[in-house]
């Protein structure tokens, strides 16, 4: 083990207290209280994971409802009967009203309650201190507060749902969202309040991570000795802290507009509805990088460990993460090419191409990392490869959207829907699932069934592509977004897409069952099943309460497989022992 006794090591007792998951003495109630008042980053990560997976289920059900509704277009027969609607009322419009609430729910839940908190709150919380060799984050109590705020925000969202939901789209564009008559006042205020509250959870988590990375790296770990996962989390946290207040203020302005009819967005009072879009996207564009940077951070770890190779161009990956974070604040207008003037559109188009370059460079670096590797085709690695495939498609299809002439056709069509699902789901969610499989043994101390993992990955990959690749064609052929019904010509592609969504469901269910089974009856996991060299693998599986028995002192880089593993040794036979003596690291 990497335990190095340092001269000033603080003595501590309880070596045999079990892991962070060990139940404290007392009944069920005391266990619950122990968990909901914990300041342990690992327990908080698990608490977030439970809440976020639950919201993923809710958002996923909404997605399936959308796809089933779009199986057939809605038509009203001569005698007044409504056909082709899953949700129907007396009139076709009743069904549309329900559909509009469901697609809004899907977007709002997935963005604000799944993907944005997603990786940072779960894997970030759990792994960052471990990877840095620390006992916890810089501000553990603040971390607990972040979780409380998150759960508080979720309750507002659930209240909004119970109230009947909102039909404005997750983007809440004015004047539709600010005009009282369009939709129920209460639900809009509740949903925007939920997002406002959730924003604070994001800000405080980001703040916590920034300080943790600056201040709590263990001895011997310089900035460029950190795992690339930490760099990704760092860049993400900077955006979270700087951008999230903007959406908070924007949503507050929207609430004031609805409540007090202030008039900032109301053209009848001299207000500007397009200004809302500027405010909204000033946050919501950087937030898509909050979504993808942690996913990319995961991919760096998965590829390195399962190829037994350092990531090619460590510094390029580290700096491109920061570059993406910086440039992400400059491109929000590319969501508004169809509502802005020419000069603005030209500038935003040019800046958008700028942000594409560091993103593409990462993909090249990851692929280059495979060269002369020793690549295990296990579930996490298959997810990493799936990420490269799907994220590349997502990124490349962003190019015609950044290009002005072509975006004027594709904006607000299914092409955009396909593009963002490829990057958000094919990118972040795929990376998240891969990361869950990769770190599951560490987090829960149990192994999952590898074959079930692979089958799930294949089903998810096929299902995802069938669902969303067809939507590119729907978009270029003229199918607009957020349509509850459509013209006959689009039906075949919609049906193909719906079939794909059920294959996707099968894959997700496979993983859910696999993970549940692992928790209940899975074999015990060794500390380092994959042979990783980052510090979390030197902790127990699952880790003890304060992570390491003794403060680690870093003696090798995060990906120094070539130096640590003796030549001509089967990695399967090799248990990574103490780090090498100082001075034998290479980048």
């Amino acid at each position: 083990m990497t335990t190095i006794d340092r001269p000033h090591d603080v003595p501590h007792g309880h070596h045999d207290e079990g892991s962070y998951l060990t139940r404290p003495p007392g009944g069920v109630l005391s266990t619950i209280i122990h968990w909901v008042t914990t300041i342990d980053h690992k327990k908080l990560g698990v608490l977030y994971l439970g809440a976020i997976l639950l919201m993923f289920l809710v958002g996923g059900i909404a997605a399936l409802a959308v796809r089933v509704e779009l199986w057939e277009p809605t038509r009203v027969l001569a005698d007044g009967t409504v056909t082709g609607q899953l949700f129907s009322g007396e009139t076709a419009v009743d069904g549309y009203r329900i559909y509009n609430r469901i697609f809004t729910l899907h977007g709002a839940v997935m963005v604000f309650m799944v993907i944005v908190p997603g990786v940072p709150a779960t894997l970030g919380n759990f792994l960052l201190p471990l990877m840095l060799g620390a006992k916890d984050v810089a501000f553990p109590r603040l971390n607990l507060l972040s979780w409380y705020i998150f759960m508080f925000g979720l309750t507002f969202a659930i209240l909004a749902l119970i109230q009947g939901g909102v039909d404005t789209g997750w983007t809440f564009y004015t004047p539709y969202s600010s005009t009282h008559a369009n939709n129920e006042y209460g639900a809009v205020v509740l949903m925007t309040t939920a997002a406002f509250i959730l924003g604070f959870s994001s800000i405080l988590t980001g703040l916590n991570f920034i300080v943790t990375i600056h201040k709590l790296r263990c001895p011997g770990m310089g900035w460029f000795d950190m795992p690339l996962f930490a760099w990704g989390i760092y860049a993400t946290s900077i955006i979270q802290v700087l951008a999230t207040p903007v959406i908070g203020i924007t949503l507050l302005l929207l609430i004031f507009e609805r409540t007090f009819h202030v008039g900032i967005f109301d053209p009848a009072m001299g207000g500007d509805p397009v200004m809302f879009q500027h405010f909204f996207w000033f946050y919501s564009h950087p937030v898509v990088y909050v979504m993808i940077l942690p996913g990319m951070a995961i991919i760096s770890e998965l590829i390195a460990v399962h190829s037994r190779k350092p990531i090619f161009g460590y510094r390029a990956i580290a700096f491109s993460s920061l570059a993406i974070a910086a440039v992400s604040f400059l491109v929000w207008g590319h969501h508004m090419f169809a509502s802005m003037g020419e000069l603005s559109s030209a500038i935003f188009s040019a800046l958008t191409f700028f942000v594409a370059v560091p993103t593409a460079v990462k993909v090249f670096n990851w692929i280059a990392s495979l060269y002369k590797g020793s690549i295990a085709w296990n579930t996490p690695m298959m997810y990493a490869l799936a990420f490269l495939f799907l994220f590349s498609i997502g990124g490349l299809t962003g190019l015609p959207l950044a290009t002005l002439a072509t975006d004027m056709h594709m904006h607000d069509s299914y092409f955009v829907v396909a593009h963002f699902h490829y990057v958000m789901m094919g990118g972040t969610i795929i990376a998240f699932i891969g990361g869950l499989h990769h770190w599951w043994p560490k987090i829960f101390g149990k192994m999952y069934n590898e074959w079930a993992g692979r089958v799930g990955c294949i089903l998810v990959f096929i299902g995802f592509n069938v669902t969303f690749f067809t939507q590119f064609f729907l978009g270029t052929q003229g199918m607009p977004r957020r349509y509850a019904s459509y013209i006959d010509e689009f039906q075949l592609l919609h049906q193909v897409s719906t079939v794909g969504s059920f294959i996707l469901l099968a894959g997700m269910l496979t993983h859910a069952i696999n993970f549940l089974h692992s928790l209940i009856a899975g074999p015990k996991a060794p500390p380092n099943p994959w042979g990783g060299l980052t510090l979390e693998w030197y902790a127990d599986s699952p880790p003890i309460e304060h992570n390491f028995h003794h403060e680690p002192m870093l003696k090798h880089g995060p990906y120094d497989y070539e130096d640590v593993l003796p030549p001509h040794t089967d990695p399967a036979d090799f248990t990574f022992p103490e780090p090498l003596p100082a001075g034998s690291r290479g980048h």
Partner: protein, 386 residues
């Protein structure tokens, strides 16, 4: 025809702009104008670029993942951890391609913004959930067709070979005017004009979709663009002018069908679309959302209720219906409102019974000018009836 050149000296795009089957697979139809086809040229160029890079990267990825798969007893060989010349190359070369992409995109986009000076202006108005158009002679197109679930989609005529500028505004929330076959859309915003221009090259029909979510019937806010030869266009548009000597109820029906877009929410056959049906509405009691009601058999009360609801719909909302109607203040003159009420009256069994002598609303004051051509000259002032 190629897209025009933005910078003198840089030749315009000359790549194939219409690769038959590929265009059909991607777009469904070839672009209906020169600019549309130029846009397709850019799209297909980007698609080609994407396919080449993607195939290259994925081949490398899968090949290496298989070639270097983990084998028992075999460790990974050493290799370089970075390579500055390679990394610089793969940063700079794609950037050059991206720069070219940006340039072509800007060029194509600006061509759609800057309209020819002789473009004729068609005023487009987006209102939840219908498109209405006013042509240069002040007329509104009367024809309707069925597109998908919308049985009252207006047919907008444009002339082949002549540029047309759509000057657009919204009466209420954001909409977006998208003509997929012309590969262009622009948002339609309240309290301002936005515009773009097209030129149809041959006769044909093209869908128009609303492309900015606007509420309940967003997916049925559709219209048909019909391009016809220029002389036929002139004849058709001229035929739309209204004979103002017709009785008020006939003029009211014309207003409703051509200019109001009322059918988006109000049926005349008893069914409920969004708002109350007009069949047997006039003269019958109307329960209101606040508990009061408009009394039955009181023509003046009903006429006042109708007039107020047209210009200030949220004042008296029919109980059981959502308060989503957009105001028509400024759209219809007092006189036109009178015609509309006369028309609504004819749809009710009580309308005929109350006698034909009363011809209009209790509107007073001078008639407002709305579209110049429509009135055919000086405004026709009707003296108040009562």
């Amino acid at each position: 025809m190629n897209s025009p050149s933005l910078i003198p000296g840089i030749p315009p795009l000359t790549l194939a702009q219409d690769i038959g089957p590929l265009t059909r697979l991607v777009f469904g139809e070839r672009g209906a104008s020169a600019l549309a086809r130029a846009s397709d040229g850019i799209s297909l160029w980007i698609l080609g670029f994407n396919i080449i890079w993607f195939v290259f990267l994925m081949t490398l990825m899968f090949y290496w993942s298989v070639r270097y798969r983990r084998r028992k007893g075999v460790a990974a060989e050493r290799s370089a951890h970075h390579n500055t010349p390679l990394e610089l190359t793969w940063t700079i070369v794609p950037s050059l391609f991206l720069g070219y992409m940006f340039y072509r995109g800007l060029e194509g986009y600006l061509s759609n913004i800057v309209a020819p000076t002789n473009a004729e202006v068609i005023d487009i108005r987006g209102i939840k959930w219908e498109w209405t158009a006013t042509y240069p002679n002040g007329a509104n197109p009367p024809e309707r067709t069925t597109i998908g679930g919308n049985t009252a989609a207006p047919i907008l005529y444009v002339p082949v070979g002549r540029p047309v500028l759509f000057r657009m505004t919204s009466a209420d929330v954001l909409h977006s005017f998208w003509i997929p076959d012309f590969r262009y859309k622009f948002d339609v915003i309240p309290n301002r004009y936005t515009n773009f221009w097209i030129e149809a090259e041959e006769p044909g029909e093209h869908w128009i979709f609303c492309a900015e979510y606007c509420g309940d019937r967003h997916s049925e806010m559709t219209a048909l663009l019909r391009a016809v030869p220029a002389d036929e266009y002139d004849r058709i548009v001229a035929s739309w002018s209204i004979d103002l000597s017709q009785p008020p109820e006939v003029l009211g029906k014309i207003m409703v069908e051509r200019k109001g877009g009322c059918a988006a929410c109000h049926s005349v056959d008893g069914s409920t679309v969004i708002g109350p049906t007009w069949k047997d509405a006039w003269g019958n009691a109307v329960p209101l959302a606040d508990g009061s009601s408009i009394p039955a058999d009181d023509p003046q009360a009903w006429d006042n209720y109708a007039r107020e609801s047209i210009v200030n719909p949220s004042a008296k909302v029919h109980a059981g219906f959502p308060p989503v109607m957009t105001s028509y203040a400024g759209v219809f003159s007092d006189e036109e409102i009178g015609w509309i009420i006369a028309y609504i009256r004819t749809l009710s069994s009580k309308g005929a019974a109350a006698g034909a002598a009363e011809g209009g609303a209790a509107g007073q004051g001078a008639a407002e000018e709305t579209g110049a051509g429509e009135q055919g000259g000086a405004p026709d002032e009707q003296p108040p009836q009562e």
